[in-house]
Symmetry: C2
Subunit: 435 residues, 2 copies
Amino acid sequence: MTSGRHLELEATPQDAGPRVVIVGGGFGGLNAAKSLSELPVEITLIDKRNFHLFQPLLYQVATGGLSPADIAAPLRDVLRGKKNVTVLLDEVTFIDPRNRCVQLESSRIHYDFLIVATGAENHYFGNDPWSTHAPALKTIEDATNIRGRILSAFENAERELDPGVRKEWLRFAIVGGGPTGVELAGAIGEIANDTLRRKFRRILPGESEIFLFEGGPRVLPSMPPDLSEKAEKSLIRLGVRTLTGVTVTHIDDGSVTIQSADSTRKIAARTVVWAAGVRASSLGRQLAEAVSAQVDSSGRVRVSPDLSIPNHPEIFVIGDVSWCEQDGRRLPGTCPVAMQQGWHVSKVIKARLEGGKAPPFRYRDKGAMATIGRKKAVVDLGWIRFGGTFAWLTWLFVHLLYLVSYRSRVLVALQWAFQYFSFNRSARIITEKLR
Amino acid sequence: MTSGRHLELEATPQDAGPRVVIVGGGFGGLNAAKSLSELPVEITLIDKRNFHLFQPLLYQVATGGLSPADIAAPLRDVLRGKKNVTVLLDEVTFIDPRNRCVQLESSRIHYDFLIVATGAENHYFGNDPWSTHAPALKTIEDATNIRGRILSAFENAERELDPGVRKEWLRFAIVGGGPTGVELAGAIGEIANDTLRRKFRRILPGESEIFLFEGGPRVLPSMPPDLSEKAEKSLIRLGVRTLTGVTVTHIDDGSVTIQSADSTRKIAARTVVWAAGVRASSLGRQLAEAVSAQVDSSGRVRVSPDLSIPNHPEIFVIGDVSWCEQDGRRLPGTCPVAMQQGWHVSKVIKARLEGGKAPPFRYRDKGAMATIGRKKAVVDLGWIRFGGTFAWLTWLFVHLLYLVSYRSRVLVALQWAFQYFSFNRSARIITEKLR
């Protein structure tokens, strides 16, 4: 019996209500769990990590402004009061829609409703070897790794005798001019110009060169052109050189090759960060294959207006792993979309349990924002858009508001206050082995 | 020239004053650097990490109470105002006393005075394979690893179907009843009884068994017997079973074998932490060999009353790597000893530069303390000793006082306040791969 003893892990008895299994504790899954917990259902939330990660602030961990635990709330803490929610730290290896169960590492769980909210993963568009030289920012470990690389670059420059190599250590390249790329580039600019000022004896961190490469014609391509322009101006003031309309054709240990309309250029930079793209997690593709659902080029699974997949009204796909169309346009892979979809699924399930039908999902776009640095941000609320100090304060406020735990809010606010007044970032520690 | 270009890294010109090289940015080295920076000398502080670590609170990182960056201050921040101090992130591979230089990874540095303050490392007394199963607590990485193991144990128990295996996941063993062992055992007791209460659905974390093994006749053997007794009572109230007079004879993946005067017992515990001993860092032994200095069984280098080594008045050895006798007794490897020795070396160097002689080093013992948990601690100030809430408050106050940066003090105080009122520890995130 030893080998089989883990195989079947029977969930709570039937009389506890329909069994809802949620895979993924990100913005979509966590919000679904919270709102479903009010219904007479038995919920199991499965995640391979024991915390909910507030990804919008991950770049601040990567740049030494915050600690990992400041933006990571243990799932058991967030859901502690919900008696009908069981949290399992486990990985779903595949979904078996025919038998209505999910396979975990060493057990399987049956569901009456399944919510797939497994998010996205880094994507190098067929150039996986680049990941060694140009890490991307998706997990806590990615963030501490990138933090270590950025900080080590300055340390290596201080130790280096060859002026050419020293320059290469002080050259940083960010691939991708979306919000993550812009925020990272801005933060590195601040580190070089403010944080590390006067802290070295042989180098001037302010002489660092920071490149931001974007394939489109402007940074923040998803925002209105005037905000892109504002963001670009702020970046330039922080010493960031934005190169738009360029494609990265090669990355190796120490250089990035870029191609623009008329030329090819190799830039010798020892620190490169990839912020150019993600794709839906592989579980979505496995599910799509099993049920013959449509998948887009980013691996997202096409969903019906109620967020379930065709022919399987009991399976919902939400968040970054979901391909959801509204008024002929695909919804972007952002937190607000995932959160609203999480709430919506609980409405659909509630209606079904009561024998009714919920209205189709409609995303209410509340706007977008990105911060570039100290008192520099851009905010687009649809009916109004603005940049500068007020945009920055709005950004601060909204991000604090959406942080999951009260403790995090206070700790993050305090560290931002320290950072504002001292120009310092104190979580600047290099941990783990690099490269 | 390529292969040779790193070889010689010439320090600042001679007219900047005598060159003092400090190896290690712990309590000894950092305090030496701070007080020496007031003298007309040129200081180079070399550390293989980019931060000063406040080791007395490391167990709180290992038990999810604090984040690594809360107790790690970047060396460049601490020493930013000191114009005559250069910080280098590098590792000293050996000391060449004859040529008065230290060899780094890719360069060498000359010194007029050398201060060796490289501290201690984990020691398994010839049983190095045990380190795989029973990690010890010395670095930030050790702490996050142990944190991951403790938290994963509860997660694994929640997932486990076999009641026997589940019990093994809920059994914790700490080897070594000194301050670190006592503090760890107490914190695990609090996690099981308070922090995780009601956060699991299939296990009762409060049913965990926590063992503390000590070879001597009582826990905290360096403290007076009545305080050991108080500590033991507090531990028992937290559910910790202290077994004194026992020797660990074997550790493997899943069990610890202990031997007492009359019996041998194998305890099936899936989480084991080693807190039984350290030895001086290997650089001390290399130095001792090079200059034929005496070394004790823990690898510490015997120093003269002025903390220099015999025949080499220009080389000082301080902190955990130093074997220093006072009134016929060896000074312990504690922070206060290292700090006072750091200050003293700067006095000795000052006196030498002025053509005088400093009085011999005298350690002023200000007492010892250990905390067991919420409102539970023991304090021994020599002239008075006490336990309970007041001891706990004293412990809190002293530790906050000695934290290096102002920012850390506020953040740590705040997190302790949260922890006190909510019974929660929020930095409970599992990071990196385990085992």
